[in-house]
């Protein structure tokens, strides 16, 4: 007799006995008396949340997630239908399709709720769920935050996913994190068109899916390919909750749910499955309407006791920089010589100087060089391009040297830790004085997210600005838009001989300026520029070429015009709470023939805390001079 037949027989026996109908009826009655359908965990397992209109329904969009027709709106009906379904006969179906096998977390929860009753449960053996559960072998859970990545707009706010930590290896008692499974929730995108991408992302038109992916894959993707740091926050969850989490992920795994870029996104659903797994986890209601990945980490850290410990997995860039720091001046010269050959030759040869060094020093140089290539030429390394071929030969050289690599331990300073960052939303109120205006007007501002280079610098990449929906209004004689940055990005990564990267900036928005008649005017603007940034300690200096396109519907002459010119900026961090910058920008415009434009500006922010700061700005440009003072509150 085959396995399946035995299984069917075993499950049929209790089913057709009178006891089972008694059980169902008993359970139904008990569920009613105890009002289990209103229990927090049941609602969380069904992903019931209040929506924007304050009506409560499940956020799961697939009808396959519900056993009752009413399931999306009625948790009671779904519970009763679920109980019925759990007692359904297995005969005639793939056992893996049995409701107990599809909804193992619900089944566990129900049994646990009624464990004080002597009931006969018709346990079904679910081979595929069992394989999943045992394959994951979860003992604990970490929330992993992957840091900001400006080169990919959808990752600019960072990303979070879960790692289910395996028990220590039975063989040697050690943990091998790379062999854990990660649980990721992501939009399954289907377009390269930036407009469509943004639109569909914002309006929930991409399907979102949970995926189980080996952690090593995420490490290679983030740490190596994109040079993003990973922060791993281990959560204190009991084993029973870890088991529930795995069972619940199984329930939502096969479904597609609408992915909302700003609300029901990757970070949101990592927390929603945690809440489903453990009723004592309460975090969603501590979040804003909009969910920024970094904010979830900060809220977990500040407002819950869930984070047990955290660790840092540096990107290949950080590892390379650390190795470089450990080199002596002479060793750095050798490294540069190798890097130069990599750029210009088709073969790496080792100088006499290198060959006469002791093996320890040689190993240090080669190890630094290996990480350098991986970081600097990550694309070519993945695609087995020229640089990778040369690196493989350097590896052969390294393999002849038995000296162990120097251990690289990077312990980020407190001010670099993302969970200690300022909140990403920002309100501002202040005063604005413009030359020619008699009165000072009141200035209001609100920024949706995330960070600019004058905000307190704790926890954010120091060389970057990521502003999303930053709006300034002034109220003098009437309410006016002063500035809108739909998107403003600045990447001021420092240039060095070994890492000759460009710095760049981009803005899409609306600015209020003055036309040639000194009349205020609003202009839509797209600005893009690129150049170089040099850094010395806490000081950096950028020189860039900017191009702009302006559209001013109320301009007296050309409504659409462009300009281009050099932009110089100096930025200085006195300390993480006191920053300043100044710029000068000359532009040649196509407006009414050709015109010159010059703008200078200086601004500084002093922050009392990570949540409160004061910013002074002065700007002088053609036809306009303005000074403002604003108090910022981060929330």
């Amino acid at each position: 007799m085959n396995f399946r037949a035995v299984l069917i027989l075993l499950t049929l026996i209790p089913l057709f006995s009178p006891a089972s109908t008694d059980s169902i009826n008993g359970i139904m009655r008990e569920v009613e008396t105890r009002q289990l359908s209103q229990e927090r965990q049941w609602l969380k397992l069904l992903h019931f949340e209040k929506d924007f209109f304050q009506s409560r329904q499940s956020q799961m969009d697939s009808p396959l997630f519900f056993l009752s027709q009413d399931g999306k709106k009625n948790p009671q009906a779904e519970l009763l239908a679920t109980i019925q379904a759990f007692f359904a006969p297995v005969a005639g179906m793939d056992v893996n399709d049995h409701p107990q096998c599809r909804f193992p977390a619900r089944y566990r929860w129900l049994k646990n709720q009624l464990k004080d009753m002597a009931l006969s449960w018709p346990d079904v053996d679910c081979p595929r769920f069992k394989a999943f559960f045992e394959g994951i072998r979860g003992e604990s859970v970490s929330l992993v935050f992957s840091s900001y990545y400006l080169n990919n707009p959808s990752s600019a706010f960072g990303h979070t996913f879960l790692r289910i930590n395996k028990a220590a290896s039975l063989r040697d008692g050690k943990r091998y994190e790379l062999l854990d499974y990660g649980i990721n929730y992501a939009a399954e995108t289907d377009t390269n068109n930036a407009f469509l991408y943004g639109f569909k992302g914002l309006f929930g038109l991409f399907p979102g899916k949970f995926r189980s992916i080996p952690y090593y894959y995420k490490v290679r993707e983030y740490n190596n390919a994109e040079s993003r740091d990973l922060w791993e926050y281990e959560l204190s969850l009991p084993q029973s909750s870890v088991d529930m989490l795995i069972a619940h992920i199984w329930e939502v795994g096969p479904l597609a749910t609408d992915y909302w870029y700003l609300t029901e996104n990757c970070s949101y659903h990592m927390l929603s499955v945690l809440e489903a797994a453990d009723p004592s986890v309460q975090i969603l209601d501590k979040l804003d309407q909009f969910v920024i990945p970094a904010d979830t980490v900060r809220v977990l850290w500040n407002k819950t006791e869930l984070i047990k410990s955290y660790s840092f997995r540096p990107s290949v860039r950080q590892v390379y920089l650390e190795r470089w720091r450990l080199l002596s001046a002479e060793e750095r010269e050798e490294l540069e010589a190798l890097a130069e050959q990599l750029r210009t030759r088709d073969e790496i040869t080792y100088s006499q100087n290198f060959l006469t060094k002791d093996p320890v020093s040689q190993a240090r140089i080669l190890d630094t060089f290996i990480d350098y290539v991986d970081f600097r030429y990550s694309q070519q390394v993945q695609e087995a391009g020229r640089e990778e071929q040369l690196k493989l030969r350097v590896l052969a050289k390294r393999s002849e040297n038995p000296v162990a690599p120097e251990a690289v331990v990077i312990i980020p300073k407190l001010e670099e830790q993302p969970h200690l960052a300022h909140p990403s939303g920002r309100w501002g109120v202040g005063a604005l004085k413009q030359l020619g205006d008699d009165e000072t007007s009141i200035l209001f501002s609100h920024r949706f997210a995330l960070h600019d280079r004058l905000d307190p610098s704790w926890g954010y990449p120091k060389a970057s600005q990521i502003s999303f929906l930053d709006m300034d209004f002034s109220s003098g004689k009437k309410l006016e838009i002063e500035n809108i940055s739909a998107f403003e990005l600045v990447s001021a990564g420092a240039w060095s001989r070994l890492i000759p990267e460009n710095s760049w900036r981009f803005k899409l928005g609306v600015e209020r300026t003055r036309n040639e008649n000194f009349q205020p005017t609003h202009e839509g603007i797209v600005r893009l520029g690129s150049g170089w940034t040099l850094q010395k300690g806490h000081f950096d200096f950028s020189a860039q070429l900017l191009g702009e396109v302006h559209y001013g519907p109320h301009l007296p002459h050309d409504k659409l015009w462009g300009g281009v010119g050099p932009y110089l900026e100096a930025h200085f961090e006195v300390n993480p709470f006191w920053l300043m910058q100044a710029h000068i920008f000359y532009r040649r415009d196509s407006y009414v023939g050709v015109q010159d434009y010059l703008r200078t500006g200086i601004e500084s922010q002093w922050s009392f805390t990570k949540n409160l700061g004061i910013r002074l700005q002065y700007r002088n440009e053609r036809f306009l001079e303005r000074t403002s003072l604003q108090l910022f509150k981060y929330y």
Binding site: L178, Y181, T189, D190, F210, P214, R220, E221, G253, Q382
Partner: protein
Amino acid sequence: MKIAQLVIAALLVSGVAHAQKKGLLAEMSGQGYGSAGCGLGSIVMGSDGNQILAATTNGTSGNQTFGISTGTLNCQQDGIFKSGKEVPAFIEVNKVALANDAARGEGETLAGLANLMGCDSQAMGSTMQKNYNKIFVDTNMQPAAIEANIHEVVSKNNICGA
């Protein structure tokens, strides 16, 4: 004019979205919940590597920075590796890091592989270092050949239990 453009764009978008939703539902109901292959991220990648990236970053499919040329991750069912497929998938995804570790004689990736194969990681490190050329250069970094050669050198050197 501007409004007209927006309307057209919106119509286009909703059209695409609609088509896509229909496609998804069809796929779901056709396969049935949780049956054959569609489970939790049987990270099914299509024939092109693009999809895998889409599946992993919270992100774009343009600007692709990380993809895997062939599909060993297809060896997953319901998000878990089928038995015997863990080692080849590990080698394929990690081959660059593995070559680095082998050349240095140790490292996290190499230790992970040693654990998967039930080998002593220290012994495996020095064996792979000594056989670096055979494993990575002679094989031209082809994953299957790397795997075969690793198996060959570890069994010759008798460093794996069992």
